[in-house]
Amino acid sequence: MEIKSRSSNAVTILALAGRFDAYEAGPVDRHLQKTLAAGSSSIIVDLAGVDFVDSTALATLVKGMKRCRQHDGDLHLCCLQQPVRVIFELTRLDKVFKIFSDEEEALKAFASA
């Protein structure tokens, strides 16, 4: 799975592409922990390229979100594909994460926070 990282002001944006499952969760987790260690606790995970998530992937995102909130930041999600959105709804993680339709909205939400 591809992981691309960039920054916009103080916000780190991680764009993922491919199948996000137990085998890919490790590198994503490391990326998130590295970002937090570098002092950035405002993170957007762009899932536009992701067509599948399993429980390990979700657990990785939950872990990242908790750490961000511990540091007075947050982890926003954006650009969910339909099958992935369904998984978030069924697991009720749509009540836990702030989910946006595009990156701009996700960034704006940080600015107004």
Binding site: S55, T56, L58, A59, V62, K63, L90, T91, R92, K95
Partner: protein, 511 residues
């Protein structure tokens, strides 16, 4: 190269010189002298000092003159020619002895190197990791080849390279490390003696020999020798260094193979342990509950996930069942699964008339910190059936698929109203109620069913699952369960099972 001297040759061959001298004296010479250019080294006869010479002939090794033979008391063409011949013979003998001494020295040197190579092999064969092997090899090769520094650069995980050197690499030599990295990337031998002005050799290197090390056709490391102390790297040095590189390759191959098999053994042990934990905890047979037809089963994946289910019967009147799925795989998931199942069970038993949402809420409180620490969560479905009540009370924390199929009606999903356990510090789930009459079916399964993949990579999916339950709903619980397993096994043929497949089937029994 050690040179034979006239003096040392004379010492060893004195009897031969003596008989040569006697021949001359017998022919009428008054004295015979071996002269080293400054003084007489030997003269015959011994009892009187030699007379000034009448004939001289030079003694030389190759082009260097080391002395003379001197004869007094004779002269003439014949005597001159004879002395010249004697001198040439002695010169040739000295030359041969010189060559013999050089060859002997080289032979001893080769034997020493062979022994050093053997000792190196013995010392390094017991190393189980690359770093100690690198230290031993670089230390030995510094002595064997008489260089200032030796380095082993080798590839580590994720593409980076590590350098171990003797003497130890200081942090102030990044230029050398970078140069070695470039050489490693090229994968070719490199030799530069006497650093030229335009050279890219980083200071303080002025000589550098680099040899790639390959195992099983892949480049894994490189040996760098820096600054030969006594001159340039010559062909014998190259041969020896290649031999060491070859040995290093064999040892590295062994170490890498050993580490790989160790890793595999550990993984296998972990998988076996996790599977045992799971097998011990899952109830073997469902209890007998008045008004219910029950079936439960689990098909674990190769690397066990965190599926569990449990049945708790209170006083014969209340039947509580739980089914959950811990995120992740292997031993961590199995251990969290055991904890979650036990905490839920203990909450069920400790509350007098346990409501599913309270069981979930209190279990979540108990386990939230643990789940946060390990970065995991567990989707959980808790159901409660009271005999004679004809309804099912449940709370669903992020779990699916849960399929409800009333007799003669369409099957639908019972969707969660709160996220999984361990996600939020407070449980959001509330109790939900559905009617449950004879012939009604509830199937609580884990996502190993709907996420099962076939060879083409398609998912089994919710729709197919719902359709199957609907089609099977008139059958007894056991048949429904076994048919669902068969359907997903059949679908997934040709593709390895990714995740555990676990389900409970509850059917309202006809009275």
């Amino acid at each position: 190269m050690k040179k034979v001297t006239l003096k040392s040759f004379l010492e060893r061959q004195r009897p031969q010189f003596a008989s040569l001298a006697e021949g001359w004296l017998a022919a009428g010479a008054t004295s015979f002298v071996v002269w080293d250019g400054e003084r007489s080294l030997a003269h015959w006869p011994h009892d009187r000092p030699p007379a000034p010479p009448d004939l001289k002939a030079p003694l030389q090794i190759e082009t260097a003159v080391s002395g003379e033979l001197r004869v007094s008391g004779l002269c003439g063409e014949e005597a001159t020619a004879r002395l010249a011949a004697d001198a040439r013979l002695i010169s040739q003998l000295m030359q041969l002895e010189d060559e013999l001494e050089c060859m002997t020295a080289e032979l001893i040197h080769s034997e020493d190197q062979l022994l050093a190579l053997y000792n190196l092999s013995q010392a390094t064969r017991s190393h189980l990791e690359i770093a100690p092997l690198a230290k031993a090899i670089t230390q030995t090769i510094v002595q064997m080849l008489n260089v200032e520094r030796a380095c082993l650069i080798f590839k580590v995980a994720d593409g980076a390279a590590s350098v171990i050197g003797y003497p130890e690499m200081r942090s102030g030599s990044p230029g050398l490390c970078h140069f070695l990295e470039q050489l490693l990337a090229s994968g070719a031998e490199f030799l530069e003696n006497q650093k030229a002005r335009s050279s890219e050799l980083p200071d303080p290197a002025y000589n550098l020999l680099f040899l790639p090390i390959q195992t099983r056709g892949a480049l894994v490391a490189g040996l760098g020798l820096i600054n030969k102390v006594d001159g340039d790297f010559q062909t014998p040095d190259l041969k020896l260094a290649r031999a060491v590189a070859g040995q290093t390759a064999v040892h590295m191959d062994n170490i890498l193979l050993y580490q790989k098999s160790l890793k595999q053994a550990r993984l296998q042990a972990e998988m076996d342990l996790a599977k045992n934990v799971q097998l011990q905890l899952l109830p073997q047979t469902p209890p007998l509950v008045e008004g219910l037809d029950l079936y439960a089963g689990s098909r674990p994946a190769l690397q066990v996930g965190g599926d569990f289910y449990d049945f708790i019967v209170e006083s014969g009147e209340t039947f509580i069942f739980t089914l959950g799925d811990v995120s992740g795989k292997g031993l961590p998931a199995a251990l969290l699964m055991a904890m979650t199942r036990t905490v839920l069970r203990s909450r069920a038993k400790s509350l007098p008339a346990p409501a599913p949402m309270h069981m979930l809420g209190e279990a979540n409180e108990d386990l939230y910190d643990d789940f946060t620490d390990v970065g995991m969560f567990a989707t959980v479905f808790v159901g409660r059936y009271d005999v004679g009540q004809r309804c099912l009370l449940y709370a669903n924390a992020g779990h699916s698929p849960v399929i409800y199929c009333p007799a003669g009606e369409r099957a639908r999903l019972l969707v969660a109203d709160g996220p999984a356990m361990g996600v939020l510090p407070v449980n959001l789930c509330e109790d939900q109620r559905v009617p449950f009459h004879p012939g009604d079916v509830v199937v609580v399964a884990t996502d190993g069913f709907n996420e099962a993949r076939n060879e083409a990579g398609d998912l089994f999916g919710y729709e197919q699952l719902l359709a199957q339950v609907e089609a099977l709903s008139s059958q007894p619980a056991r048949q429904i369960g076994e048919a669902l397993f068969a359907a997903v096994v059949d679908f997934g043929r040709g593709h390895l099972q990714d995740d555990d497949q676990t389900l409970i089937v509850i059917k309202g029994a006809t009275p």
